[in-house]
Symmetry: C2
Subunit: 617 residues, 2 copies
């Protein structure tokens, strides 16, 4: 793609549906529970539905005005619970967007903000004394509409899978190995409630993010992936910032973390949240650091607290909080090859060693819980001491922090605050299982959310692959969400192509984990693909793949003619000899009896292939 094309794409929202695909909705027990799925119409009449993270953007029948935001699908549910109130909210101050920035950019951000004034909402919070977390409801025995929505979404449509599910029922060989997970045949709303009540799953869904299409993160559900976005140094348009989100969820991002730093982060976050059908996570200390001019030691609990409320009012669904980076653990990092590599972890380390005080996120943890439950923000307890190299994997500092995260999980659960735990990082293959074991033990099955892990350190430029190996393995072992790594990891900031490459690598890892765990129906899409391969349905192969366009382009490089998409051979063996074609004859032969068929075959001239005109050009 050349530069002008790329620019044009950046300036336009990608709204094209996937090939052969239609957005369908499965209705729940009430008409306002409408769960979106992507239905792929195969050329043989099969209708395959797949989990769809892309939101209304891939639905051409939905009009979208990103200056007004998406329809607030959850608004009625939140209101009906009667435990929240609207209020004026915190006053936005210039510092939220990086201070004197308005002057420097000649009023551009002010102008963009005015253009998107329609995105402003009056925030809600829990009424005094109320707790509005999904965990709180779950523990009261309440099945929320969000939970029912999730049950439908996780199951997918089972009708089309029947043919493939029967294979697994017939043959023990095809059963998965859940590695300790307990995945029921059918996910019920009650099962969702029970998992959330136990803390084994979270539903990141801030009451101020009613646009979210509810999803769940937990070891007994489909493995999810996260992708990251950040604001541009120079914001050129609202579309550009929203497109980063749209692009991420198009390829399968289940959640998106907004890791913006620098200018305009408050305003950009408004644009993203109001237009996001997936949960948005942030690392609030990044913005807090901007507010103190990048000087870590000037941070304070007050500035941090104010930032939490600011972001909670905007609707951020989960916060990375590095409360486990405790002062006594800092010296444990000094013998490391790569020290502290987490940005949040090192900000707090700097603060602690400057003041010689305990981490203020640790000392104020219960106050943070109070904020979380007033908006239903989910904790993502950050692993500020994660290893930055295989040499530092599973060391004293890492596991000391993990045990602390376990203690903090119990405190959060005491407040009915949803909690997940962040994990590494850089871990050689043979040391991955210990990470999962320790996490399950100390954090009592709170969902694990890992960055990779990267299995080796010598693949700069290819760390999406080095880490997809670790991600697939830890996903199989029980990790609930995998944070993607792009090819630019360790080198630079990912562009659009890198983001896509990272997401596809992680969709592969997550799907490989689901298949290995034996998640009901997850192998069905693979089986539909295999059937399409065996039957030479090329267009169906593209449509069933994770990236239909790339698959078709690659195919066309070798066999560009349209007619070859119907051909009964593939580009590897060519028309003269095709192993798949032979197999069909073998099957026929075995059924008829071998000797009889042999004679018949020879008599018929012994031709296996269908002669076609060779492709020209």
């Amino acid at each position: 793609m050349n530069a002008p094309d790329k620019l044009q794409e950046l300036l336009t929202l990608t709204r094209e549906p996937f090939p052969a695909s239609t957005k369908v909705h499965v209705e729940g027990s009430r008409p306002d529970i409408r769960v979106p799925m992507r239905e792929i119409a195969l050329t043989n009449g099969e209708r395959v539905t797949v989990y769809d993270t892309s939101g209304p953007y891939t639905d051409p029948t939905t009009a979208i005005d990103i200056r007004q935001g998406l329809a607030p699908v959850r608004a009625g549910w939140i209101e009906a619970r009667g435990d929240t109130e609207s209020y004026t909210g915190r006053q936005r101050v210039a510092l939220d967007d990086g201070g004197k920035n308005e002057e420097r950019d000649g009023g551009r951000i002010e102008q963009l903000r005015a253009e998107a004034a329609g995105l402003q909402r009056m925030p809600r919070r829990a009424k005094a004394g109320a707790n509005v977390s999904q965990m709180h409801y779950a523990r009261q025995g309440i099945v929320t509409p969000e939970m029912e929505y999730i049950a439908i979404r996780e199951n997918g449509k089972r009708e089309w899978m029947r043919e493939y599910l029967q294979d697994a029922e017939r043959e023990a060989r095809l059963k998965g190995n859940a590695m300790g997970a307990r995945i029921p045949e059918i996910i019920t709303p009650e099962f969702v409630r029970d998992e959330v009540a136990r803390g084994r799953a979270v539903i990141p869904a801030n009451i101020n993010h009613p646009e979210v299409e509810p999803m769940i993160i937990g070891r007994n559900f489909l493995v999810k992936i996260n992708s990251n976005i950040g604001n541009s140094a120079v914001t050129s348009s609202i579309e550009e910032e929203v497109e980063k989100l749209v692009w991420s969820i198009r390829w399968g991002g289940d959640t998106v973390m907004d890791l913006s730093t620098g200018k305009n982060i408050h305003t950009t976050r408004d644009w993203i949240l109001r237009n996001s059908p997936v949960p948005i996570g942030t690392v609030p200390i990044y913005q807090a650091l901007e507010k103190v001019g990048g000087i870590a030691e000037d941070l304070s609990w007050e500035i941090f607290r104010d930032t939490l409320i600011e972001q909670a009012e905007q609707g951020v669904d989960y916060f990375t909080i590095h409360a486990g980076v405790r002062l006594p653990f800092i010296p444990m990092t000094t013998k490391r090859r790569t020290g502290i590599v987490s940005r949040g972890g090192s900000i707090l380390a700097k603060w602690m060693i400057t003041h010689h005080k305990e981490n203020f996120l640790y000392t104020h943890f219960e106050e943070i819980c109070e904020i979380m439950k007033a908006y239903d923000v989910t904790f993502s307890l950050g692993d500020g001491l994660r290893p930055g190299s295989g040499a530092d994997a599973n060391d004293e500092a890492q596991f000391a922090e993990l045990r602390t995260l376990g203690e903090l999980t119990e405190i959060a659960w005491k407040h009915d605050v949803q909690t997940m735990i962040e994990g590494p990082g850089h871990v050689p293959m043979h040391m991955i299982q210990a990470n999962m074991d320790e996490q399950l033990k100390h954090c009592k099955e709170a969902p694990f959310y890992t960055l990779g892990p990267l299995t080796i350190d010598i693949a700069p430029g290819y760390d999406h692959i080095a880490s997809a190996i670790g991600a697939a393995m830890i996903g199989w072992m029980g990790t609930a969400m995998l944070c993607y790594v792009t090819p630019k990891e360790h080198l630079g900031l990912p562009d659009r192509d890198d983001v896509k490459a990272g997401i596809i690598a992680y969709k592969i890892a997550a799907h490989a984990a689901d298949v290995a765990k034996g998640h009901p129906g997850q192998r069905a899409r693979d089986d539909a693909m295999s059937k399409a391969r065996f039957e030479f349905r090329w267009r169906d192969q593209f449509a069933l793949g994770l990236d239909p366009q790339t698959a078709e382009e690659y195919h066309d490089e070798t066999l560009p003619k349209d007619s070859s998409k119907e051909a009964h051979f593939c580009s590897m063996c060519g028309p003269k000899f095709c192993s798949m074609k032979i197999t069909q004859d073998v099957r026929d032969y075995a059924e008829k009896g071998m000797a009889e068929k042999s004679a018949e075959f020879k008599a018929a001239g012994g031709e296996f292939y269908i002669p076609i005109q060779p492709a020209k050009g």
Copy 2:
């Protein structure tokens, strides 16, 4: 890269050394044992040596004339053994290059053949009654120069690793998990001999391929990777065909399979073998099929036998022989989702069902052994019934064939013929271990050589990633060589970029396996990389990576200025805040005592970063 650039590259051999790298040779017990390694000179004075598959092509001090071929490093060793004789050899016939082809291409191939007349060698074979396999020598207690060469090569230079090896000696945490492999601290020539004698490792090294730099494939050695090449439909030049090989070994192909079909395959193979420092494998039935006009049922033992001799005389180092595809197993494939997907397997299935006879490779297996031992060609017993989809993984047909390969291994070993076993294919993660277990059990630790396996089926365009996951895992479990998969798998024929993408993905998988197994010194390169990261030595990071050029390009996209390669920050956090920099201060702080350092730090202004000029443009 645009089309003319690409064409230019195709027409030129890639001979550029890697950045900061020099070819060095480690001498063995005699001056003609000179083992090549790549030495990377780091900016801090460290000299890191890495395993080098690229041959003399990356050594600018070696003159190469591909019309004469590489220096025959093994010629003296072969001659000195006194158990072989030169002979006239089989007469080349037109059919070897696809019959009437010379007429069709206007004499072009004849002209190219004349240009490369200097590649013709008189073949050697074992003297009557002799067995010239490395296995035979090993079982006689003879340590060949090849074995000594391999021991040096596998160990690498240990001097520079000392600092990193000490970490693992100090901390049990850093020990690998060899999963049943027994990898000694130092590989001795005697260990190599013993492993070859037991059949647990093979040295593919045909006596007619004296140009090969000896290498070993076995579970107690470094995990190897294979890449595939094929001839062009229209051969434009000798360079073009040789460059495919040069490109593959540059990025790390330990062996290369020539899967050519169609025209000019005999002549192209001459060009490749005479210019290849790595073992070359083939699937002889592909050429045999060409000789009978692509009509599988017209194949015969005689035509096949003639092809084996033709290729053995040229110097092919290992043959894929699908002798385990037995007639009784064919009906077992009829219930499969994707039947028989191996080209060799389906050719033989077609032959068997047409004639209703047992596979002639099975019935003539001992005669094949006689040929193998006369030239020291290694068996790669093909898995013609490997699964072509996750749905068919580990089924009756696959494992029936694997057990047969075990029986054939014993026959081959009776003849002292070196043998490895090919494996799948498509296998979900949780079913991979069973493949390794069955293989070890039935094939008695003969080296396993797998294609991936692909862990899912829905990633066309990204199957190098879907399969690198499975390859890393099965490599850790004990697979000795991993056959690469490119992004074009299932879609088309790989181009130059696809070949590189496939090889890098497989170098990642193989290295991840070596690190997990705890292969001595393999983590040292990762540790050197981590140290370079911590010390912001950007150029060293590029040089230590699997693909220095791509790493540097990615870095430069974000921070293009040359000065930023010296900068004490990276592109992720920028100059203002850098977690790695902070860690260095943390380390200093912990050493000095926390309270004292805190005061000093504040007094000094509390700055962590080195102010630099911001990068322009």
